[in-house]
Subunit: 328 residues, 2 copies
């Protein structure tokens, strides 16, 4: 894989003074991947603080940017060093997040590798989608296969939501419930490669679909297509959301759409831009975002279709390649 050049990122900050406490921001800026740490950037110098567990790791991972690493075993002492270095600073909440939205080539390479691993695992597991298998069985097979195909980890606990109740909960995890004929089934799965996430969702019916299932699935597929077509430079995350909502509203089913239309993906599985009616960002080439409309109703179940796409100069390029079949 192409190495990530953290000196370039740092140079984009020029002479800015910054306190970084968000751990994904810290990793993006300095290369230091930790569960406890912070950085202060001041006049081109970088100070990175952490505790005794991560001292060696911090030194190794920030060597390239020449950071000064501060290691304190005791939390109160680390806190004191933090307060000394950061006394006139507020943690940065948006500056790094904003820079992180547009991915460089090394990042895109990792996200695409992760998406490809998830595609491959799902392709292998799809033939197993029969009644009798539990949601957790499917999840175990998917996650194991992603690891065997080179993922460092799953991107998030894989969602396997089957049947009239679980399928109606957009963020249901996975349970011991076994698939039954007639179930709707949602699988939302991603892989992690060198810190970068992927994210995709596909939906099925177990056995022969009903007319209502077919109609609902088609509507979700239509909305997803409309959302994808709205992704291009100069468009906005609100526009993408609106494109999906319009399809559902036209069909009188907007009340069954229980979440936003997507989000950025990178070092965090959910990061800006968020496609919804309340937070809006103009899309730029290099952003990596999901488009994931769905419809959900208790007693019926649900469908969601989600692709991960790269915003390009002319529109978007899918990073997800799992087929979006018509219902069998």
């Amino acid at each position: 894989m192409t190495p990530i050049d953290h000196t370039v990122r740092l140079s984009r900050l020029g002479d800015e003074t910054l306190l970084v406490t968000n751990l994904a921001d810290l990793r993006w800026l300095t290369g230091f991947d930790t569960s406890n740490g912070w950085a202060v950037v001041r006049g081109g110098d970088v100070f990175v603080g952490t505790d005794g567990r991560y001292g060696d790791k911090a030194r190794a991972e920030t060597a390239a940017i020449g950071a000064t690493v501060i290691v304190e075993q005791q939390a109160s002492r680390l806190r004191a060093r933090y307060e000394e270095l950061a006394r006139d600073l507020q943690p940065d909440a948006t500056r790094i997040a904003q820079l992180r939205m547009v991915k460089d080539d090394a990042e895109i390479e990792r996200i695409e590798a992760a998406a490809t691993i998830a595609d491959r695992a799902l392709g292998e597991v799809e033939p197993m989608l029969h009644d009798g298998l539990s949601e957790l069985d499917l999840r175990a097979e998917l996650e194991y296969r992603m690891m065997r195909h080179g993922a460092d980890d799953r991107s998030y606990p894989t969602i396997v939501a089957s049947g009239p109740e679980h399928g109606a909960r957009p963020h249901h995890g996975a349970s011991r419930r076994a698939l039954e004929p007639g179930d709707t089934l949602i699988i939302d799965v991603g892989a992690l490669v060198d810190g970068y996430h992927s994210d995709m969702t596909r939906s099925w019916v177990i056995g022969e679909p009903s007319a209502e299932q077919r109609e609902t699935y088609e509507l979700v597929a239509l909305a997803q297509q409309a959302g994808l077509e709205a992704v291009r430079p100069g468009s906005s995350s609100m526009t993408v959301d609106t494109a999906c909502r319009d399809v559902f509203e036209e069909a009188g089913r907007l009340d069954e759409y229980l979440h936003g239309t997507g989000h950025g993906v990178g070092l965090d599985i959910h990061e800006p831009p968020f496609h919804n009616q309340w937070s809006d960002v103009t899309l730029e080439a290099g952003m990596v975002v999901t488009v994931e409309p769905g419809l959900y109703r208790g007693g019926f179940g649900g469908f969601r279709i989600e692709d991960l796409v790269l915003v390009t100069a002319s529109g978007q390029r899918p990073l997800t390649h799992s087929p979006k079949r018509e219902l069998n």
Copy 2:
């Protein structure tokens, strides 16, 4: 499994008024397992707030305690309802955490089931510990086997730390590094059952151990035994930590002990009591804690031995049953 009775927990609060925002506390008190929610307890009434993704789940999971469930799709509206209900309250940081330290029988059953699953997976994977296999290979096998043996999930990303550098980092994750003859190897693994965690660590040498490896391993085993013997009602978490530290100090190797001696385990993998020199709790029957000393040095690697134990009326009962072999 024995059902968990949330009405009993609630009744322990009597007439207390409480704002609960920690998600594990929320689950412990109300049964509602979510990534976004809060509860206000006031005069015996419970109000639970969440967003549209979790409305059905909140109603289903809090039906037994008769909670009033408040669902708002939009974050700002949910925030307004929260501010209205919680206007005179500070989020509780310690009350529920304190109650959670002593486990009831249903909780112990789940934690023990999780520990047994991890034991079983490790027993199957141990014969694979040969050079050539990568840390991530081992992790994939362990996590897959835990799922197949009935875990709802891993308890945390399994730690597989091999060789002179990774082994010297107590919280190294797992990498593509392949095992080599002469490596120290640490595996730290747990399972999740119905929300409850387990936690254990075993250590090995790949191939024939050196004299220094044998000596270091024996020292860690001695310290762990001393720590276990210090676990009993009326003892304290600081005493458990001191028992381990004394062994290392006597051997002149305290500078290689880079973390605390253990922690409580329940709905969180790390929860009070914490065995260290700065936070101290008197141990009581029903607490479930780890005892996990280790020694680490760059260029050498490291060893850690960790058991999960239940504090009983007379001392402690191990929930971990994986053998603690002498080095081969």
